[in-house]
């Protein structure tokens, strides 16, 4: 139990140490991510009280089944992401370490103000990392929206403190069920969190940031930071918002609008990164929709699916076209790089939710779950799946099919397999394998991370297990 805290403080320690040992920055980064992956094997569930003070008084880290899945997903993907894009690290290694500490803190902390601090750590690291693209105006835009969002979040948290005299999420959740006047604080907290989860209308920053990020920063933002933000959103929604039907309806509306606008924009996207970024927005909307309706289990499956697929796809998108060409200019790029191409295809099929892949279980579980709540929502998801399928399959065909003679402007010489980055090929192969294996035998996932059905430790949890497809059955 006491090892939980090390997930946060050891990356910080290595980041601070790299100011002293200037020439060892990269080894310290590798050490940090490796230690964190190793820690995953020895952490055990439970609540860790920092400073030895009991829950509402001190800050506590909550490692229940929900955040356990979160830290496993995030730390292992972070490790793979750094390894597969190691040539893009540059002199920014301490910032990656603080980013890692920030996302771990966001998932683990059980204290609302502590969450604010970790959101700030994560977002400032993200500002610094995205400024590598030299498109400073986009980073500036992100900074302004992010700061206003976190300011409003802080205001909401302090209003809750004024009412309940506590900053602890579980404590407030227990006290807030009978309270009145919660609308404004909850709205403010939701607005603050929606900036990071890319919900309409607070996602104006996403386009400029994702489009201009390199493969490493793009995949970190799209898979790791986005997953962490969604995990936080899920926890806060299910502990605080469950009592307010009005807020829940607003959030469902926002989520559906986000989902539709994201996927339809992705359909119109021209370059690979553009398609991926709008698809990320759409997926965020979908996951928020599931979280607010209490379908935590399918939401987690979708987060895992989205994180793994986006990591693979963003890395490959940057590898084959760092300068962000439209995909019709990249015809046949996968013909020379079959492993990367296969990985990309597997990831996109899983994102659509085709059978045989992990995404299928996520989508089918969310459909069945939503049918119990509303008939319209599953229809929306089905429509969106068709749109998703259309643009992703179109993209895949364009990238595999060399096109007419002379039409392809792609320079064949640059892309021989041997020149490709070995780390990326291994990562892509590994992650594709994970997607396929969990798609074929989902009980593996069921036995390892999702065994416990009482995922989130709150009193208002709706039971998720009854109406869902039993993972143990397989195909």
């Amino acid at each position: 139990m006491k090892y939980t805290i090390l997930l946060i403080v050891l990356p910080l320690l290595f980041a601070f140490l790299s100011m002293i040992f200037k020439n060892q920055k990269k080894p310290l980064l590798y050490l940090g991510i490796t230690v964190n992956v190793a820690l995953l094997f020895i952490i055990s569930k439970g609540t860790y009280m920092i400073g030895g003070f009991d829950a509402p008084y001190g800050i506590n880290l909550v490692l229940d089944q929900y955040s356990y899945i979160g830290v496993i997903l995030i730390n292992s993907l972070f490790f793979l992401s750094i390894l597969s894009n190691s040539k893009l690290i540059g002199s920014y290694s301490p910032v990656y370490l603080t980013l890692l500490a920030g996302v771990n803190g966001m998932i683990l902390t059980g204290d609302l103000f502590n969450l604010f601090v970790f959101i700030e750590i994560t977002t400032i690291s993200a500002y610094i990392l995205t400024s590598q693209s030299k498109k400073y105006i986009h980073t500036f835009n992100y900074l302004i929206i992010g700061s206003i969002g976190s300011g409003l979040y802080l205001l909401g948290v302090m209003l809750l403190y004024a009412g309940f005299g506590s900053l602890n999420l579980a404590d407030i959740a227990a006290k807030s069920s009978a309270a009145t006047g919660l609308l404004l604080p909850l709205l403010l907290i939701f607005v603050g969190l929606s900036v990071e989860t890319k919900l309409v209308p607070f996602n104006g920053w996403v386009r400029g940031i994702y489009k201009n990020s390199n493969g490493l920063v793009g995949s970190l933002l799209a898979s790791i930071v986005a997953s962490a933000a969604l995990f936080v959103m899920g926890r806060v929604l299910n502990s605080l918002f469950a009592t307010s039907a009005f807020m829940s309806n607003i959030i469902i509306l926002v989520a559906v609008i986000t989902l539709m606008s994201g996927e339809f924009s992705a359909f119109k996207g021209k370059s690979i990164k553009e398609i991926l970024l709008y698809s990320s927005i759409g997926q965020s909307g979908l996951i928020t929709l599931l979280m607010v309706t209490g379908l935590i289990f399918p939401a987690i499956l979708l987060i895992i699916n989205n994180a793994v697929s986006k990591l693979v796809m963003f890395s490959i998108a940057d590898e084959i076209s760092p300068e962000n060409k439209t995909y019709s200019d990249l015809k046949g790029s996968f013909a020379q790089r079959k492993i990367l191409g296969l990985g990309f295809t597997v990831a996109s099929f899983s994102l659509i939710g085709l059978p045989l892949f992990l995404g299928f279980y996520a989508k089918i579980n969310s459909l069945i779950g939503l049918f119990d709540i509303n008939v319209l929502l599953p229809l929306v998801i089905l429509l969106i799946t068709v749109v998703e399928g259309a643009y992703l399959i179109r993209l895949n065909i364009a990238l595999w099919h060399p096109g007419e003679e002379g039409e392809s402007v792609y320079d064949v010489k640059v892309v021989t397999q041997a020149e490709s980055n070995m780390g990326m090929i291994l990562t892509v192969a590994l992650l594709s394998f994970v997607i396929i294996i969990t798609g074929l035998k989902p009980d593996l996932l069921g036995n390892s991370v999702l065994s416990d059905h009482s995922l989130l430790n709150t009193k208002t949890m709706t039971t998720t297990s009854e109406f869902l497809i039993d993972l143990k059955g397989g195909l």
Partner: protein, 112 residues
């Protein structure tokens, strides 16, 4: 009254941030917002007739009427975090100026 004044300051900051075209003025708007927010948080813990939360030889016992120290600790953290964000924002503004030779967001928008 001071609570309303804090809310008005926050709103002034957001209004200035939304309406201005000047990048540095956006950061100034952000700062006004943060100042208002900080005052508001402090007022949450204020008690009429209470003393500052420091034990001294005059106010020497914890049974005295103290104002709430937790919002003050929170604001302390918030001010320092706000400074960090302002500094990063300003260095970005400087870089934008070097790239585009202007602080006007409309002119920059055309150049990207």
């Amino acid at each position: 009254m001071i609570q309303i004044s804090a809310i008005v300051l926050m709103l002034l900051g957001i209004y200035g941030l939304l309406t201005t075209k000047h990048i540095i003025k956006m950061i100034i708007g952000l700062n006004i917002f943060e100042v208002g927010l900080n005052i508001f948080i402090i007022t949450i813990g204020y008690k009429t007739g209470a003393v500052a939360p420091i034990l001294t030889s005059q106010n020497n016992s914890s049974i005295l009427n103290f104002v709430d120290p937790l919002p003050q600790a929170i604001v302390l953290t918030a001010i320092v975090i706000g400074f960090g964000i302002t500094a990063v924002g300003l260095i970005l503004a400087k870089k934008i100026y070097v790239q585009h030779n202007t602080y006007n967001i409309d002119e920059i928008g055309g150049k990207i």
